[in-house]
């Protein structure tokens, strides 16, 4: 099957000037390649600083890669003219870790949802409203919350709203950058279930960027392990978990906090 999204030899190099005026180079992505098939989930795991967020930014066109290509729907979005890229951009949406920072605190839930719908144009006012209600239902929010501000929602509700806003533009790919990491465990489970549901009903494709290997393993078809800007190991989720080849993968696996960890003897009281 033709992959929906294919990244080839992606390089992103940041340059910064240090205090002495000399330029330092930081290679955030060092030749990353992978492909994601439609309606599947690729989990990108790695430690902080391994380049996984930069990868998400490049694919969602928030950063321009230094070199390499990003093939989406048969076209390389890196070299596409801005006017053409603009048409493809809505189809790849990004969800951030902390919804309290990615939602405008002074807007109501309704305004937050109507913005992307209005951007899309073409819809009449009532249709827009109906679409907003439908989006709310789709992510498990009730439409009596329309007039609330993000601060009046719980963490889980805010993340649901962020997902609804992303869905407004009818994307084909969602990039989830640590989208569950800031949530409580029980809420993580709820949002994970929502993501599974949306994949089934809408045929959504996910790039699930995280340091939480347990959740990655639960949601992903394939896992790509990143270290220092490179994908060091990639394969079906079960293989990576059961037969990790790279040192860094074993290191990440060993760090998964688990309820079954070795117990220490208790203190006598």
């Amino acid at each position: 099957m033709q992959p929906l999204l294919r990244v080839e030899k992606l390089v992103k190099c940041y340059e910064r000037q240090n205090v002495f005026g000399s330029r330092e180079k930081l290679l955030a992505l060092d030749g990353v390649s992978f492909a994601v098939a439609q309606e599947t989930t690729l989990a990108v795991v790695g430690e902080s600083g391994s380049g996984k967020s930069t990868l998400g930014f490049c694919i969602s066109c928030l950063e321009i890669p230094t070199s390499g290509s990003i093939w989406f729907e048969g076209r390389d979005i890196v070299v596409l003219a801005e006017s053409e890229r603009r048409k493809l951009r809505p189809q790849i949406q990004l969800i951030f870790q902390d919804p309290s920072n990615s939602l405008n605190p002074r807007w109501s839930v309704e305004e937050i949802l109507l913005e992307p719908l209005n951007l899309k144009g073409k819809l009449k006012r009532e249709e827009t409203k109906q679409r907003a209600v439908a989006l709310m239902t789709q992510v498990g929010l009730s439409s009596d919350m329309f007039q609330r501000s993000p601060a009046q929602l719980s963490g889980g509700q805010r993340q649901r709203l962020a997902i609804a806003r992303a869905l407004a533009l009818e994307p084909r790919v969602l990039i989830l950058d640590e989208a569950l990491s800031a949530l409580d465990c029980s809420v993580q489970a709820q949002i994970a279930n929502l993501l599974i549901e949306l994949q089934r009903t809408l045929g959504m494709t996910y790039l699930f960027i995280t340091h939480d290997l347990a959740m990655a393993a639960h949601l992903a078809d394939e896992i790509a392990v990143m270290n220092r800007g490179r994908v060091v190991e990639q394969g079906p989720a079960q293989n990576i978990l059961r037969h990790p080849k790279e040192e860094i993968t074993r290191h990440l696996l060993a760090a998964i906090p688990s309820l079954d960890n070795a117990e220490r003897p208790p203190l006598e009281s």
Binding site: E47, D184, S186, N193, A214, H218, L241, A254
Partner: protein, 327 residues
């Protein structure tokens, strides 16, 4: 052994403008032995951060400790005069916050930030304090103490910043350390490393610790006892190995079930729905009468709606507040 900290019947409420006050903690009881790590497990709205701040009487101005006592080394902190409290905070009891990037001063070098804590509490001369600062930082950064000491927070990684915060916290040799989600903003490998650091400190310095988190898995192999907080009440309290391996309270059970257990499962459970607890734990959803967990509880009964369950002792200092066990 005498407990280092005894919290009895602690009630804390917040006033919000115009509305009635809201109870963040209602009747919290527990004790802490010297050299013990108590893991406090709770989600947003459970009152876990309120617990941390009320133990030091650092509640915001609309917060009020309406009832109860906090006995620290035999002294009731709630009756202690302000001057005495200042001597205790940071010196005898210290607090490690969640966000090391916010808790550290952005424009001071790491060594200066540790030095200021010492200077605030100790009367020794400057050079003696500098010496002590070096020692403390060296104990947390055995390999690169000098480089870290001279760095500003933005030059440090998340894990290193968290270590600097811990250095501040242990500088004056406290007997109790309260850590409020100290690893929440770190990735799992750094989390593990920081937990290791805290364990070593406990073993070497004989610290007692209250470790607050929303992630039960972090407590496995780390805490001695676990206190599960829900809606400002102690739902369950017991030895970590007991509570984590065979939880009794319906909330604790449901919480543990909602976590993906991909490594333990032999068959492929990927992309299957996780069992969730319906609703959320935000304050607005808590019932005014009966058991606070009743609306979300899978095992609810008649009694649950009418009154609050009492604490039931299940033996081996394992207690649970639920009618299922007699309540």
């Amino acid at each position: 052994m005498v407990p280092i900290l005894e919290v009895q019947d602690l009630h804390v409420s917040y006033r919000s403008s115009g509305e009635a006050s809201y109870a963040a903690l209602a009747g919290v009881n527990f004790h802490l032995m010297p050299n013990e790590i108590l893991g406090v497990l709770g989600e947003s709205g459970s009152g876990k951060s309120t617990l941390a701040t009320s133990l030091l009487k650092l509640l915001p101005s609309n917060g009020n400790i309406s009832r109860g006592s906090i006995l620290f080394e035999g002294k009731d902190l709630l009756c202690a005069p302000a001057g005495e409290l200042e001597q205790i905070r940071g010196k005898r009891i210290s607090l490690v916050y969640q966000e090391p990037s916010v808790a550290l001063h952005p424009a001071l070098r790491a060594s200066e930030q540790v030095f200021q804590v010492l200077a605030a509490h100790e009367s020794a001369g400057k050079s003696a304090l500098r010496q002590k600062t070096r020692q403390v930082l060296a104990s947390l950064f055995p390999k690169e103490a000098d480089r870290i000491s001279n760095s500003y927070p933005h030059q440090l990684s998340g894990g290193q910043r968290q270590r600097v915060l811990i250095a501040q916290a242990i500088a004056c040799g406290p007997s109790l350390l309260i850590a409020d989600e100290p690893t929440a903003s770190l990735d799992s490998t750094t989390q593990k490393e920081i937990l290791g650091v805290m364990r070593t400190l406990r073993d070497e310095l004989g610290l007692a610790m209250i470790f607050i988190t929303h992630n039960p898995a972090l407590l496995a192999g780390f805490a001695d006892r676990v206190l599960v907080l829900y809606g400002g009440r102690v739902a369950e309290l017991g030895l970590a190995r007991t509570v984590l391996s065979s939880p009794k309270h319906p909330y604790t059970r449901a919480l543990f079930q909602s976590m993906p257990q991909i490594l333990e499962n032999t068959r492929d459970t990927r992309k299957t729905k996780l069992p969730v607890i319906a609703g959320d734990s935000s304050a607005a959803q808590l019932p005014l009468e009966g058991c606070v967990f009743e609306p979300r509880c899978p095992d609810r009964m008649e009694d649950c709606r009418e009154r609050e369950p009492a604490v039931v002792n299940l033996g081996e200092s394992h207690t649970v507040s639920c009618f299922k066990y007699g309540g």
